[in-house]
Amino acid sequence: MPVVVTVVEVMDETPTVKTLRFDRKFTILPGQFCMVWVPGIDEVPMGFSSPDMITVQRVGEATQALISLSIGSKIGIRGPLGNGFSPQGRVLAIAGGVGVAPLYPLAVNGSVDTFILGARTEAELIFADSLMDLTDLKIATDDGTAGHHGFVTGVLDEQIDLLSYDTICVCGPEMMMKGILNRLSDAGIADRGQFSLHRYMKCGVGVCGSCAMDPDGLCVCRDGPVFTGDQIINSEFGSYARDASGQRKRV
């Protein structure tokens, strides 16, 4: 059964992103997620941005309802679910947009050496201040309002010696992640990449099959959400995904 928690703090991150803190700390590994039940609306997957926090970007009905919650509101949590990251040695983390959420606890526990944080514009950078204290932070914005003018892959190409990292943890829009996977693959180190994937989830526990990926039938909810680059390089990743009814759509 979901654990019912009470929202005790709501933090504005950007105009469309808020962090909710609840009255209960879960025992998580960085990269694990939960199914968040917004009563009367839906249940959706969210990464833990700390043991008692989720960081939510408004995209539709459930996320709109979540960021509109006030202190004292109750929601249901099933989790932690999934495998999480398994960093080793020198760690590079790369986040695009709200993809920073599951990577943040990795930085907080001291695992990350270098962090590349990307967003469309300066106002949409999330957790930049604390990441600055915790890691060697490099910023990229699409419009050049902060840091590198362009995508996170630009920072990779110009400022990073990929081979000097043992683990590269990534979360963000799929095409961004695909661009990074291509670079790791070209360098012959796809297996050092750990990518946190997004597929449509219903059960969250490896039963319904809604998040299964081609061609191996890996379930993002249970076998993932974090996969190494070599696990997904010859998969549907970067080309298509399925919607709630199981129909394919381009990513």
């Binding site: 059964m1 199914m35 109750k74 219903k202 490896g206 039963v207 809604s210 009814s245």
Partner: protein, 295 residues
């Protein structure tokens, strides 16, 4: 414990690699996940139930794990005719396509898409939580017979899956048999619900749903036992099977094979795990124990 001989299994016109079949709706939305279950040792697989139109399913929560069981109200999400492309890599494999509809001609329409593609059909006349579908028609013997007749007319193996949520499952089983079913599958989920007390509301988005997993095994076993008395076509036992002993027990009640769904929750390679214990070189032939508890 009694063990079985490893043999090809013929049930209701479908040939399976062993007695263990993946149940409908569990890891069955994509060809790749069905293939994975075959690789892990399932003797055959049943797909997610496919209907006349694409459906997104109910709002969440749509599945909640409980002690020794799962509570779900998925709401029959499915890609409808587009599911054909999922089956391409599975040509020639023991894949049974589960179909649902609201009336007999919808069953026929959906079945026609998979003619010659599937190893057989399974009619879902038994989903307890999709308005107007499944169990809503599966508790009416005349409807069960009419839907079965429409699909059996294709001349392919036609399994009919029954709901336990009726007074006398034997009557429904006989209606399916009269309609031309080649095997009966018992059971689908048992009507159920839970309430989140701190929120004072049902935990499922659909408010109520169906219960599966180990906690329904005795209910399923009783249904199989009753059907064995009432009908003369083969029965496939489904509901809470999670060990080799459960398979043997289902067979003694009258099942020729079993389906396994919820047990993947505790063990994602459950088919291999059960097969390792169930089969041995000095095992008996299943035919020697099927229905033996009736003697």
């Amino acid at each position: 414990m009694i063990t079985l001989q490893k043999e090809l299994v013929h049930v209701g016109g479908v040939t399976l690699d062993n007695h263990l079949i993946l149940a409908a709706g569990v890891l069955g939305t994509t060809g790749a996940s069905l293939f994975r279950m075959l690789r892990q040792g399932a003797g055959g697989v049943v797909t997610k139930s496919i209907g006349p139109n694409p459906k997104e399913g109910h709002a969440g929560p749509c599945l909640v794990p409980l002690e020794r069981g799962l509570l779900n109200a998925m709401g029959l999400p499915n890609p409808s005719k587009n599911f054909l492309q999922e089956l391409e890599p599975l040509a020639g494999k023991p894949v049974v396509v589960s179909i649902f509809g609201g009336k007999p001609d919808e069953f026929r329409t959906v079945a026609s898409w998979f003619e010659g593609v599937a190893a057989g059909y399974e009619l879902n006349l038994s989903c307890p939580h999709a308005e107007g579908y499944g169990a809503a028609i599966g508790s009416d013997p005349a409807m069960v017979r009419a839907c079965t007749e429409e699909v059996a007319a294709f001349g392919m193996p036609t399994w009919v899956k029954l709901t336990p949520n009726v007074t006398d499952i034997g009557t429904i089983g006989r209606a399916a048999e009269e309609g031309g079913a080649t095997a009966l599958v018992a059971i689908n989920t048992v009507r159920a619900m839970r309430i989140a007390i701190d929120l004072r509301r049902p935990v499922l988005g659909n408010r109520f749903g169906g219960l599966s997993g180990a906690m329904i095994f005795p209910i399923a076993l009783r249904c199989v036992y009753d059907l064995y008395e009432a009908c003369s076509i083969p029965i496939i036992g489904c509901g809470g099977v999670s060990s080799a002993a459960d398979v043997i027990e289902m067979m003694m009640a009258g099942a020729s094979a079993v389906q396994i769904g919820s047990a993947v929750y505790d063990d994602s390679s459950v088919f291999g795990s059960i097969a390792d214990v169930l089969y041995s070189t000095d095992g008996v032939s299943a035919s020697g124990i099927v229905g033996c508890a009736h003697e």
